[in-house]
């Protein structure tokens, strides 16, 4: 260079300088990511299940429920992670074959993946969890509301970000108690999930001194869309009751009970006034921002399962930022400790119950266009944390101290 003509050298020099600075500008973000001190791969596993035919099928369920929540969690983590030299990446595998899911998880774990968000039914989740120790794998349950997982099974390496059915029915039960609606007519579907919801309602009724005055199982095979006004009033004759509580998780017939009951009573439960982890109508406590970010990314509303997957990935982000480690054992230890807190747009800090790994959270009571209330309701007290009035509190759960279990 120096041996070449003076004029060209200076011109070339300035070009080179520009090229260099452009290159630096262009590659600065890339190299920052590349040099990230800590790269965290988070797996997402989902079992794709076929939906049975449903009567109220006007608004179909989105096909990427859960996955979009995990994606947003990764984006949120990376926005903060870049200031800490931490980079998060989502590995995504969805299949209709349980064996394929098991295989993929094996591959991930042998490749060093330590955290996986699971959108799976309870039995499969339980199978997967038992294949690994707490040091190998930390699973987040974002797909199953199963009560037994939180009260009996006590899987040491699973944290639950989706509320249990018991949390949902307790949230509803507290509101009904507050409104003095204590006599319930339960209308239930025949599917196993509906029956589990009913069991959960029975537990709630007992807790709050409410009475299930009658249980009616929906057996009709006619097309209710045409005949609800004629059939439902007859079907809902059952003496006097204060509220109709529906257990129809998939949404087969429940929507047709509203405004058609024999007595003019509110319809609550899986339809009508519904307890949920998340819904588009939640907009307080900064939630409007989360809703907007999600909408921008997914082009649809954020569901409870999306929220649970988001909360799982965000929990990992907060834990990694706090402890600077990515191994399952250390993360789990921190997540279950008093030191962990997660801002979850619900007006309270969220944390995990150390006895069963359930994420404590307020439960929204919504109808399709508005937030009606949020439980725990005022006046339902607890010696430690009012959020523990929802679902299985320490003495009610057979699970005892997951941290102690891990140390063994």
């Amino acid at each position: 260079m120096q041996q070449k003509g003076q004029s060209t050298a200076s011109a070339k020099g300035s070009v080179l300088l520009c090229l260099l600075s452009c290159a630096i500008l262009l590659f600065a973000p890339w190299s920052a990511a590349e040099n990230a001190a800590l790269r965290v791969q988070v797996g997402y596993l989902e079992l794709l299940e076929e939906q049975p035919p449903l009567l109220s099928n006007v608004l179909p369920e989105p096909r990427d429920r859960g996955l979009q929540g995990a994606r947003l969690g990764i984006a949120d983590n990376n926005a903060g992670g870049r200031f800490l030299g931490q980079q998060f990446e989502l590995l995504n595998f969805r299949s209709d074959s349980p064996n394929a899911l098991i295989e993929r998880l094996d591959q991930w774990v042998s490749a060093g993946v330590s955290v996986v968000v699971a959108n799976l039914p309870a039995p499969l989740l339980s199978d997967l969890a038992q294949r690994y120790s707490t040091e190998q794998l930390l699973l987040f349950n974002a797909g199953s509301a199963d009560n037994a997982l939180r009260s009996q099974q006590c899987l040491a390496n699973v944290l639950h970000t989706l509320p249990s059915r018991a949390m949902l029915t307790d949230a509803l039960g507290q509101w009904l108690t507050q409104k003095k609606l204590r006599r319930w007519l339960v209308v239930e579907g025949a599917r196993p999930a509906d029956q589990e919801y009913v069991q959960s309602l029975q537990r709630t009724a007992q807790r709050y001194g409410s009475k299930i005055v009658a249980r009616k199982r929906w057996r009709f095979d006619s097309d209710l869309r045409r005949s609800a006004q004629r059939e439902v009033p007859l079907f809902t004759q059952a003496g006097d009751y204060d509220a109709v509580v529906v257990a129809d998780e998939l949404g087969d017939f429940g929507e047709f009970l509203l405004y058609n009951t024999w007595l003019p009573r509110p319809v609550v439960g899986t339809q009508g006034l519904t307890p949920v982890a998340w819904h588009r109508v939640v907009e307080q406590w900064g939630a409007a921002q989360l809703q907007r970010r999600f909408d921008r990314q997914a082009g649809r509303w954020m569901s409870s399962v999306d929220y649970a997957a988001w909360a799982a990935v965000r929990s990992v982000g907060e834990a990694v930022a706090a402890v600077g480690q990515t191994d399952a054992g250390t993360l789990r230890q921190h997540l279950l400790s008093d030191g962990f807190q997660l801002g979850g747009f619900k007006g309270r800090k969220l944390s995990y119950r150390p006895w069963n790994g359930q994420l404590r959270q307020p439960i929204a009571l919504v109808h399709p266009r508005a937030l009606v209330s949020q439980s725990p309701q005022e006046g339902f007290l607890h010696p430690q944390n009012e959020l523990d009035t929802l679902g299985f509190d320490r003495p009610e759960s057979q699970c005892q101290d997951l941290l102690a279990g891990a140390r063994r």
């Binding site: 949120d76 926005a79 903060g80 870049r82 200031f83 800490l84 900064g286 921002q289 907007r292 970010r293 965000r314 907060e318 930022a321 807190q341 997660l342 801002g343 007006g347 309270r348 800090k349 944390n385 009012e386 959020l387």
Partner: protein
Amino acid sequence: MKTCNPPLLAAVVTFSSLFAPLSQASIAYVSNEKDNTLSLIDLDTLEVVETIDVGQRPRGITFNKDFSKLYICASDDDTVQVMDTGSHRIIGELPSGEDPEQFALHPDDRHLYIANEDDALVTVVDAERSTVIAQIDVGVEPEGMAVSPRGDLAINTSETTSMLHWIDTRTHEVVHNTRVEQRPRHVEFTRDGSRFWASSEIGGSVVVVDVDSRQVIKTLRFQIRGVHPDKVQPVGVKLTDDGKYAFVALGPANHVAVVDARTFEVLDYLLVGRRVWHMAFNPQQTLLLTTNGVSGDISVIDVDAMKVTRSVKVGRYPWGVAVKP
């Protein structure tokens, strides 16, 4: 031109002194987030004297140095409106980036630092030329914004990332980050710029940070009898110029904490309206006003007596407040 101006100015002065005999009173401007209005409160009579329509979802508001202009974050219009405080007309809009929520005016009276909540950005705007000078990447949901009285440093809080981002105001680069507890909301510098206070809403704490060493020198927590600790959620912070007191608005706990700003001891909790967020002093710092979103009113604190003396009904969801002498 110059020769024309003085008589015109004199005419204006005579005109305004004739028809505005009450203009001596300080006026508090309150932004009502869900009404798209500002409520103006006469601080002598403590009554709402005017309600002004502004852009959608007004939140942060701040005056320029001589109080001739009021800048208003109209969040849902994605703009910062400029209001002439003489005529109460909107005389301009600044390119603010999307969803501006809070901002701070640099001591040069010209550069606005705006937190763009939806975009994870801080936008720096030259208010004189109405141009964007810089956009700075920060964490998710940037909210709190403050510029040091020394002028060399701006601090932004990102709520979901739970960080305080230190921005060099010359290079417009993030030079340092401080991780704090969940959902940091607000930053307030001491008068000499040597320290700042930052609140964490969900974490329930306030940190005091030393600027030169970049170290947290104190973490404050609050305990109110009969209120669950998780509901004690600090948002707004105000410091008296004499360095004696700090006031911390505790959100849904419906109290303002009075803190000794030298010893960091919490001296008292004052009961105000529901969901208290932001605050402003009158010029003499004898009154402190708080915005109470859920009850839709302003509580007036007598600073000498340390008592809440009045509440003034304003619009729906009062968010920000600024006082013009």
